[in-house]
Structure formats: C-alpha cells, structure tokens
Amino acid sequence: MNAAPTLAAAPFDAAELAALRADFPILSRTTRSGRPLVYLDSGATSQKPLAVLDAERRFYTEHNAAVHRGAHQLAEEATDAFEAARAAVGAFVGAPAHEVVFTKNATESLNLVAHAFSTSTAYAQRGSAPQGQRVDPRFVLAEGDEVLVTEAEHHANLVPWQELCARTGAVLRWVGVTDDGLLDADALDGLVTERTRVVAFAHASNVLGAVADVARFVAAARRVGAVTVLDACQSVPHLGVDLPALGVDLAAFSGHKALGPSGVGVLWGRAELLEAMPPFLTGGSMIELVRMERSTYAPAPQKFEAGVPMAAQAVGLHAAVDYLRALAPGGRGMERVEAHERALTALLLERLAELPWVRVVGPAAAADRVGLVSFVLEGVHAHDVGQLLDDEGVAVRVGHHCAWPLHRRLGAAATTRVSFGPYNQPSDVDAVLRGLHRAHELFA
C-alpha cells in the first residue's frame, strides 16, 4: 500500500487499512463455516504481504545460488541479496549488519546462546578451544553458577537454560509472577547474585502482553557482570525497537512473526560479545582453516551460519521490514503499527471489561501492553472458546501458548489469546465478542 499517512502515531484509518489488507490475500478467504477469516493469531505467526512472497519468488527465478560459496555471477548476486537483507534487518532494530546472525527461528537463536556457555565451559575444562581462540570467562560456568530467567518465559527462553544447567551443573533461578499476573520485579535485586552469569527475559510476554522494565534487568545484570539475553519475539514485530539502545547484550526474534517467511530468525549481539562466543552449528562457510585434527573459525556473523543458509527467506524478511517501515513516511511505519495495534488492544480490553465472566490476565491498560490479550471465560474451557470462535471464522490461539509454568502460576490450565497484526480492524474485535457471547451462552 502506498497511502501516505499524515500523523505518524495514529492508527490506520479505514482507507489505509483497506489498502493494507489488500496486500494480504489470505485475509479475503472464508472458513469452513462460510464466514470470512478473522486472523487474530499473529502472536504465533503473522500473515505475509505479497511484497514478501514476490521478493522470495524473484530471488528463486532470477538469482538463486548458494551464498558465500561461489565466484559465478549468480552466487555473487545471491550473496549480495543475502547481505543486503542482513543490513536491512539490522537497521530495522538499530543494529549494524555485522551484529546480525540469521538463524531458522528465535528458538535456534536462544539455543545458540545457551550453547555458547556450555561449549566455552567444555573448552575451558579440557583446554580444547580452537587454536588461537581465547575462552571468554563470561561464558564459562562453574558448578553452582546461576542462570536467571522469569516465570513468565516462553518455553524457548526457558528450556534451553534448563538444558544448559543439565549439561554444566549451573542452577536455574527465576523471577516470579505475582498474583496479579505481573513480573515480581522487586524480587529481581535479591535474585541477581555474584553467581549470576546470565539474565534471560522476554521483552514482551506472549501471554500477558506486558512489556518488561528492560533497564531494571540490565542494571541488575551489569552490577554482577552477567550477560543479558532478550527474547524480543513479541516486541520487534509490534513496537519500534532499538536493540542496542536497550542495553542488553544479545537478543532473539523470529522473522515469521514480523511479516517475514517461515524458516528465518535473528540473533542480534554486540560485536564484542559475538566474537567472544564459540560457534554453535559447525560445518561449511563458518570456518577459517580446516585440518583433520581441528579447525578455526571465521569472524561473526559467519561463524554462526554453518551450511547453505535460508537465503530466500532472509530476502523475504528484508522485504517484510521494508514493508513495515514504509507504513509511515520516513521509514517510521512501526510507530503506526504500534499505535494501530494499541488502539485495537484498548478496544478489546474495554469490551472484555464489560463481561463479568471474562478474566483478563496481565496489565489492565493497553498502554502497558503489546497488541495481545489473553483471558479466561469462567466455566468454559479455552479449547471450547477457541472452537466457537473458529466457527465464527475467528482464528485465535488457545492453550498454554508455550508458557506452561506461567499458566500454572495463573491457575489457568489454558487461556484464549487474541493477538493483533497491522492488518487487523475494529470489526475483528466485534467478531471475537460475538463468539465469546455464544460460548458463554452455550456452556456457562
């Protein structure tokens, strides 16, 4: 869409929205009940605009070759496209290209970081680091060293740390969640000790919608020299985010939640830290010198990108961030996306507040949230809610949303989550409400 909005921080108006929605063909399909699709599961994965699909196809039909591996013209073109994607995706989150590592998804990004600790630890214990590679003490864990997460984490930012502890003898600690469904940030200072080596937390919770007080986490971690790892999966697609400015050391997000293709994720890290980390996946294209006995590795980001990469998907993600930026003049599209999704969130929260049989989890005010709302219908199982919404054509997510410990803490086996993308419209909220009323009538 090419409409030039006038107010950078206003929601999209009806005309803008119609133009934008036309870029997403899937939004005009109907569902098995004959009703038009109302897609409200962008927190799981977003839909993709035609610009993204076209960019991928153009790559395949004009430039496809293995990147970083050939001297022929196609290989050069493919490599240029891949590296241009790195620069654009970096710029989208305020980072230089050489601090951007392409992975298959945010989960791989977070595992990569967790393994940097166990691999460094093994190198240090065995003296087995590649020749000339200093083992950085920040990544070496001693028995009883601590990894701090929160009780609200997505499994992707929890299980890799549990497994790191199982490999090394480190101990997992966590910031709890209060009865109100908020992070118990006051407990943070007591939990960060001299033994804390990693502080890993979500920028925005994929269940609560709450945006974390990043500065507070960073300050606590800095005090003891712990590495900070930000799970930015639910912030980067929905807010304007400048990762380096946040003060964290490393951050992960996925392309498929930010209008990009499936199969591509990002790890951002401060250059100095990426250099200090050992590789994770090893193989072709990430080496400096290979002998049968042992090998040495290329500088970051190549060091972390073993094998033929997801080039077409990186190119698709490039088109996605270009698309998002272009939603407002001066490349400030994310400001409008944020404003738009926040307006929808406020509308939904307002409507839900009128229903005494609905319990919303997380912050009461839209201003404290990214564009998603999870809730419980009293006396109705979330999967039945989801099914009735599905029957209205409304696609939402039900379950524990890969945050099982949080749901246990909230005393809810499952919640229903509505999550917005830039293409959602006020009438989508009406559709949700219709479905909720039906579920309430049928079951409660």
Binding site: S33, H381, A382, H383, D384, Q387, L388, D391, G399, H400, W404, A413, A414, L442, F443
Partner: protein, 143 residues
C-alpha cells in the same frame, strides 16, 4: 457447527459417573499432550469379565468431559469383549475424518461425537478417556 451437539453439551455439563470411587482394579492417569488436560480413570472388573464400574476425574474441554461421560454409559455393566468392540467403534469413528458417522446401536449417545472427527485438533480430546480405559483394562487383564 456439527461439533457441539446438544447431547455433548449436556453430557459435558452433567457428566455421568464422574468422580473417583472404590473399589477398583486399576487406576491410570493420562495426559493430552496437545493441551495438558488430564484424566484419572479407575476400572473395576468382576471375575466374569463384566465391568462393574468406571470412575474418573476428567479435567478438560467439553468434548473430553462428554466423551468420558458417554464412556461411562457404554461400558459399565458390559463384558470386556463388548467394551473392546465399543472402543474400536469409537476410535474408528473419531479418526475417520468425517467418513464414519457411527452406529447408534453400538455407540449410543456417543454418535453425537461423530462431528469431532472433522476437527483433527480435537480428536485427542474425545479419545483421552478411551485410551485411559484401554490402558486400565490392560492392567487388570493383561493379555
């Protein structure tokens, strides 16, 4: 929508035979991995192979609760051979992707669950108590 038949809603609201009772020959605990819902189920089988009681505690959606309630109706008082046939009929119907509407003579109110087979994500809900039953029977009568 063919999923939430009135019968299902009724069974789910007032499930038959719910609650854990004594005596029992075996107790099992099954979890539906896709949602984390669970059922604890007990069977009590007489020496002649008649199911004297099935008692259960089911945490889950309306489909899973209704299915447990229907199970209780179809199984209590029946010989194990028949229970086995019923279970197979139920399994066949639920996994038929809409092809098998179920035989009311065999499945009673259970035919109201036929619509579930069109919703792959929900098939496990309806199967939960039935797999628990199979497991429990195996413990009472290993074969």
């Amino acid at each position: 929508m063919d999923l939430y038949q009135q019968l299902i809603i009724e069974h789910s609201k007032r499930p038959h035979g719910s609650g854990l009772r004594e005596p029992f020959g075996a107790q099992v605990h099954h979890v539906n991995p896709t949602c984390g819902d669970e059922v604890t189920l007990r069977v009590d089988v007489a020496d002649d192979g008649t199911v004297r009681d099935v008692s259960y505690d089911a945490e889950g959606c309306s489909i899973s609760r209704a299915s447990a309630s229907v199970l209780h109706d179809l199984v209590v008082g029946r010989p194990l051979e028949q229970v086995q046939r019923t279970r197979e009929a139920m399994h066949g119907m639920l996994t038929s992707r809409g092809e098998d509407a179920g035989d009311e003579d065999v499945l009673g109110d259970g035919v109201a669950l036929a619509g579930v087979s069109r919703y792959p994500a929900r098939v496990k809900c309806a199967l939960l108590s039935w797999s628990a039953l199979a497991d429990a029977v195996l413990r009472v009568r290993p074969c």
